[in-house]
Symmetry: C2
Subunit: 232 residues, 2 copies
DNA sequence: AAGTGGTCTAGACCACCGC
DNA sequence: CGGTGGTCTAGACCACTTA
């Protein structure tokens, strides 16, 4: 009962779209027509249309009208936390190495820096219930004053490592997900004796100006992790 | 030049959040204060705040105020199209089998149907430049009147298979991404002789009432596909 | 009671589009 | 030119929170 009028408008139009009464490309009734239909002022109608627009149902063209949008069928929302996934979570992390290195050509290129800049390398193992489940390497641009406290690094997620330097809102991230066969080193670290695939997640962090500030590569045992995404 | 006022408000507040002048949990100035500050009416201020809210920067509590939100650090947007990914695209598909089956217990359970319902099974191979790159199996609830035209099925994506029955807007989808070692059958289909990991994407389609209408499992050669996601 | 955000009105002017 | 959406005003009433 007593939904605001603009919600009524939103749901009425959604219903028409979902039932194919309004098809992609069709025009939505003009705002003035909806004003009359619902007996409300134009701002109220516009509030409803704004919601439909941001949810991807319609788009508006100034001077022409509003149209039903073709939905983005390939878009999904994925939640990825290197320490937690839908079926498991990391309960222990072991620091293998923290060191300051000079990047090789590939790394310098990826981080968009020259090869004489310092980079922090952090290698860790993630454990669940006593068993190693992932091998993790991170490369961070070295900033003066950056604290390298081993105890803090051990359990930190990538965000946490950089968020002392960069406000989290200013952070942009990209993921690259792939399946790979472990090399001998990773097999040893993850106690892999038989054939087992790795789910490899490469995380790349950018600052506000789209300059890379870090790269992380986490190689999960394939029997440990599943990533989940959903539309809407 | 000449951005509307509400955009000015949005960008000013974004700047304050990104520079940590406003931190998560802090209160945003009340609407009336912003009205005075910018010399505009309340609806204009509210339009700006609405944009900040939908972009995840702030949230509002009736009777109290608006607050800076803690950003969702683990949320990514992923584009997945079974026929196209960031580095490759399928240029040919070969139909291995279309048949109507009775589901086994596991499948019946996943589709939330009884075991006496009919299910369409479609098995395909995807090719890129003449080489097989993925093995694809789909299970669809059988609806009377559902056309099973082999030529159409061959190149159809999952959406296309069901969209003749269900308006696309009404479709919800979930993905499960994992890394696996291929079994002997898939090795044969994908010409895998050495060790090679598979990136397996399970797609589950639901109708408006959240009832499953189909499951698809696409097993990609690990050297063929990389999935990409990004924050924002 | 005073302050907050949520809803809504009845206008206005503008830029853009198609005829 | 009339119709469209985009911006904006100066009010109003409400429910809610805090004190």
């Amino acid at each position: 009962m007593s939904d605001p009028v603009y919600i009524q408008i939103v749901e009425d139009i959604k219903k028409k779209v979902n039932s194919a009464e309004l098809k992609p490309g069709d025009t939505v009734p003009p705002e003035t027509a909806l004003c009359k239909e619902y007996g409300v002022s134009r701002m109220t109608v516009r509030k409803g249309l704004a919601i439909l627009a941001r949810e991807g149902y319609i788009f508006s063209v100034p001077g022409k009208g509003s149209y039903v949008r073709k939905p983005e069928v390939n878009k999904y929302t994925l939640y990825y936390d290197e320490m937690n996934n839908a079926i498991n979570s990391v309960d222990k992390a072991r620091l293998l190495e923290v060191s300051i290195i000079m990047p090789d050509e590939k790394l310098a290129d990826e981080l968009k820096i020259t090869r004489n800049k310092h980079v922090i390398m952090i290698r860790r193992l993630f454990y669940t219930e006593g068993s190693p489940v992932a091998y993790d390497v991170k490369y961070l641009l070295y900033n003066k004053g950056m604290p390298i406290v081993e105890e803090e690094i051990e359990k930190a997620t990538f965000q946490e490592m950089v968020s002392s330097n960069i406000p989290i809102f200013a952070l942009k991230k990209r993921l690259i997900i792939s399946a790979q066969i472990p090399n001998e080193e990773i097999k040893r670290y993850l106690n892999i004796y038989d054939e087992l695939a790795l789910l490899v997640v490469e995380q790349k962090l950018y600052n506000n100006e789209n300059k890379p500030i870090g790269i992380g590569i986490t190689s999960y045992r394939g029997d440990y992790i599943k990533l989940q995404g959903s539309s809407d």
